[in-house]
């Protein structure tokens, strides 16, 4: 009996010890990572937003005034982008008249622009050479959305993927495509008919002496 008890005890002892060897051959740990890539379009004007043309001499009326690098724009974008420009109205807004004759409804197109970035490969509506800036109606821009007639500094209307947008980039890394120097020119002539304008004045075809302003809109958008 004693022998039996001793054998059972030793057997139980080994049984108990044998239960201890539960090997874990591998283990895992995890990280759950999320990433939010925001679409970023930054348009920066690095010059004075106001550009003045003051015609005080006959020579200035006849030869015109050219403002070189009057506006400089820088684009930083994480998406494919387009940059287009238009006048916010169809005509210049008269603030004050200096005379009683002439036409106060000066079309926006009397202002000419030229860009340092050649966009001619993307669209014929470009500013590779001095070109009249289109007024709101002629530009076709509706609610900020460009149309076929809209003039582009970079890119073009449409999303076909072939020559219709500029690649993501920064002005510091890609100055040739992301940094724009805009020249502006106005040539009134005598009488002030602005012969370079693509839109003629209706009624009296010469400008009324006075003080006018025009708002030019530069719009940076995702490839549209």
């Amino acid at each position: 009996m004693k022998q039996l008890i001793a054998i059972i005890f030793v057997g139980a002892l080994f049984l108990g010890v044998s239960q201890k060897a539960s090997a874990q051959l591998s283990d895992e740990e995890y990280n759950y990572v999320t990433m939010d890539l925001r679409g970023i379009l930054n348009l920066t004007m690095t010059t004075n937003p106001q550009v003045d043309f003051s015609f005080k001499t006959i020579q200035e009326y006849q030869q015109g005034i050219t403002r070189f690098n009057s506006t400089q724009l820088e684009v930083d974008a994480t998406l494919a982008w387009d940059l287009f420009v238009y006048a916010n109205t169809d005509t210049w807004t008269q603030v004050e008249a200096y005379s009683t004759n002439g036409n106060a409804a000066l079309p926006a197109e009397i202002l000419e622009l030229r860009s340092s970035v050649d966009n001619s490969a993307f669209t014929t509506e470009n500013f590779t050479a001095f070109t009249s800036l289109k007024g709101l109606a002629n530009s076709g821009v509706a609610a900020g959305v460009p149309a076929a007639a809209t003039q582009f500094l970079a890119g073009a209307v449409g999303t076909t993927g072939v020559n219709d947008s500029y690649a993501p980039g920064t002005a510091s890394a890609n100055p040739a495509t992301n940094r724009f120097r805009i020249d502006m020119r106005m040539v009134p002539d005598v009488p002030a008919t602005f012969p370079n304008s693509t839109v003629a004045m209706v009624g009296p075809d010469y400008a009324q002496a006075g003080y006018y302003y025009l708002e030019v809109v530069y719009s940076l958008v995702e490839d549209l």
Binding site: I7, Q24, E29, V33, D36, L37, R38, L79
Partner: protein
């Protein structure tokens, strides 16, 4: 009857002895499984990236065996982040290798001493050991330390701080993405 009982008890004891080998196990202690978000909302972050130090801490407890430690990404499409939402139509889905990891400890035992791009879990990066087993034994505090040990006794060799860095650059599709990073600790078999 007594003889039969003796026989079964002895048989059981012998079988138990067979299984009473040296106890072997590997495990991460103090599991945390943290989540982390990288939010790119400025051009500078896109270009310079975002670095987060000490995202997690891996505490290794290896008993009676050599061990391997490797890491990889698990996603629906191998090699690409999982797409949770899209904000724009252009650009490419980010590849997982824009995510870089770095494993640090006091003894610099990681076989990959600096930031490295993550790979899919099917082709993981070995921090300790290799895919070939068994590896040569390496004792603490040498690079590649893979001998049995414990993070509480030798933290310089058995505790790893993990850093993360993501540099997306420009040209990727705007959106919300995710991935799971797997850290595998396994017996060197």
């Amino acid at each position: 009857m007594l003889k039969r009982v003796r026989f079964f008890v002895l048989l059981n004891a012998m079988l138990s002895l067979c299984y009473l080998s040296h106890a072997q196990s590997v495990s991460f202690a103090l599991k945390t499984s943290p989540s982390i978000n990288f939010d790119f909302n400025t051009i500078q972050k896109y270009v310079s990236g975002i670095t987060v130090m000490n995202v997690c801490e891996l505490n290794v407890d290896a008993v009676g065996t050599q061990w391997d430690l490797y890491v990889g990404a698990t996603t629906t499409v191998p090699g690409l982040w999982d797409v949770d939402a899209v904000y724009a139509v252009g650009g490419a889905v980010p590849p997982i290798n824009i995510m870089q990891l770095q494993f640090r400890n006091a003894s610099n035992t990681s076989q990959v001493p600096s930031f490295f791009p993550i790979q899919d879990i099917l082709t993981p990066t070995y921090i300790i050991g290799t895919a070939v087993a068994p590896d040569p034994a390496v004792n603490c505090p040498a690079t590649g330390t893979n001998q049995a040990g414990n993070y509480m006794v030798s933290p310089g060799c058995y505790k790893f701080n993990v850093d993360m860095k993501v540099i997306p650059g420009l040209g990727l599709q705007s959106g919300a993405y995710s991935m799971r990073i797997d850290y595998i600790l396994s017996q060197d078999l």
